[in-house]
């Protein structure tokens, strides 16, 4: 019994120490500074329904093309602010072989549709509903907005976390087209849930 208690105490100390290391490494840091393990990896595959309910779209549908995937929500102020930039950039790159996909994250389809009706859509963008957060989980989404850049080989080359703008979006696409490194960039806050 005494021996068992000793072992339990050692395990408790080791676990506590481990937790202390984990917590000390997390606390006091900007929670947005989360490098994406996806960079350099094949993009997670998904098949999601179109917001208008007219069918489904899979990432494989864009094989051989640069794809910009933006995760957004109608309840996210940053998503609202950056929306025009996404529409403008999708429009501007429409004839240049760059596809835009916007995936609604933890949102009611009616709310998302109302958001898009209010702020506008790009005919060059595909709008999807992330049913059961499948895509968000696969992409390891920390919060919204987040934007991923996938090259023509289907590899995730870059990520912007937080509210972006047209110049940054375009510059990132320019780099991707030139084969330059992009990496992960944090440009602002993200929201994990409504009211955060």
């Amino acid at each position: 019994m005494g021996r068992a208690l000793q072992i339990a105490a050692v395990i408790a100390v080791v676990v506590s120490a481990g937790l202390a290391v984990v917590f000390s490494s997390r606390f006091g840091r900007d929670p947005n500074l989360v490098p994406s393990p996806l960079i350099g990896q094949p993009a997670p595959q998904f098949e999601l329904p179109l917001l208008d309910g007219s069918g489904t779209v899979s990432l494989t549908d864009y094989e051989g093309e640069i794809v910009v995937v933006n995760i957004f929500a109608s309840w996210c102020p940053g998503c609202r602010t950056e929306h025009q930039a996404l529409v403008s950039t999708a429009d501007a790159f429409a004839d240049s072989g760059v596809k835009f996909v916007q995936i609604a994250y933890q949102d009611e389809p009616d709310d998302t549709i109302a958001f898009l009706e209010e702020l506008g859509i790009s005919p060059a963008t595909t709008y999807l509903d992330d049913v059961d957060s499948r895509a968000s989980i696969a992409f390891g989404v920390f919060g919204v907005p987040e934007t991923y850049f996938i090259d023509a080989d289907g590899i995730v080359r870059g990520k912007i976390q937080g509210e972006t703008n047209a110049l940054l979006l375009g510059q990132t696409i320019d780099k991707l087209r030139r084969g330059q490194e992009i990496g992960s960039e944090v440009v602002g806050e993200v929201q994990i849930a409504p009211g955060d």
Binding site: F93, L167, G170, I173
Partner: protein
């Protein structure tokens, strides 16, 4: 578009310009009140815009008597002009007053040369509904228009020059944009009269614009067959320090030919 259609548009543009000029006089003399003036200006400006836009989309009809060699030298002078005009954009969004112009564009080291046409288009589009950003994005728009002009994507260039002209730019910038529009409507659309009116506006905005003077000389000589009228303009260009030595020699040759009454080309 038929030549009759072009002529009608050209006349409509000229009429709208006359109306605007008269309106300025009427406002200056108090003949009409400001409210009426605003309404009329909006209408005349809209008429002018429609006419000029229609003309810009007219099929190509190169002006007569314009040789390839002269086109090249014209392009060379324009390239010099472009270089000078690009100098105008030195203050490119370096000190944005508008908080929405954040990120890369607010960096003093921002260089639009590092961005694709699509990116500049996207940025301009994203500020479309923001009247406060018009002035700040104007240099970016001008740079983009210049790129299209250099690659002879005249329709795209025209649209951006038009937007600049309508945005009440500084005289130098207005003059540069009007000169390009004059070139486009002449070389691209064969609209000699409209080109002449436009380049006159460019010179009115900035009389020292030697590129505008050169374009006007070309229009007069090659477009209207009037070498005599072209000579003083070419002499003015020659006296300018805005042209390179290689171009200077060609301008000298032009002066000699025009002075001798030779036809263009």
């Amino acid at each position: 578009m038929t030549s009759v259609g072009r002529q009608r548009l050209e006349e409509a543009a000229a009429q709208a310009r006359r109306d605007l000029a008269e309106l300025d006089e009427q406002l200056a003399t108090g003949e009409i009140d400001e409210g009426t003036g605003r309404r009329l200006r909006s209408r005349y400006s809209s008429d002018l815009e429609s006419a000029v836009e229609g003309l810009a989309h007219a099929p190509d009809d190169p002006p007569p008597g314009r040789s390839k060699g002269r086109m090249l030298i014209g392009a060379a002078v324009l390239t010099v002009g472009i270089g000078l005009a690009v100098g105008l954009v030195g203050h490119f969004i370096q000190t944005p007053d508008d908080a929405t112009l954040t990120g890369i564009a607010s960096n003093p080291e921002f260089d639009p040369a590092n961005f694709s046409n699509e990116t500049l288009e996207a940025t301009l589009l994203s500020f479309e509904g923001n009247p406060q950003a018009i002035e700040q994005t104007m240099p970016m728009r001008f740079r983009l228009a210049e790129r299209y002009f250099e690659t002879q994507e005249f329709e795209k260039a025209f649209e951006h020059y038009r937007r600049i002209i309508e945005s009440n730019p500084a005289p130098d910038l207005a003059s540069a944009a009007l000169t390009r529009v004059a070139w486009i409507v002449w070389v691209g659309n064969g609209l000699t009269e409209l080109a002449l009116q436009t380049v006159d506006q460019a010179l009115a905005a900035a009389p020292e614009n030697s590129e505008a003077a050169y374009v006007k000389a070309e229009i007069l000589w090659c477009g209207l067959g009037d070498p005599e009228a072209a000579v003083p303009l070419l002499e003015g260009v020659l006296a300018s320090d805005q042209i390179e030595e290689s171009v200077r020699a060609q301008v000298l040759e032009d002066i000699a030919s025009a002075s001798a009454g030779e036809s263009c080309g």
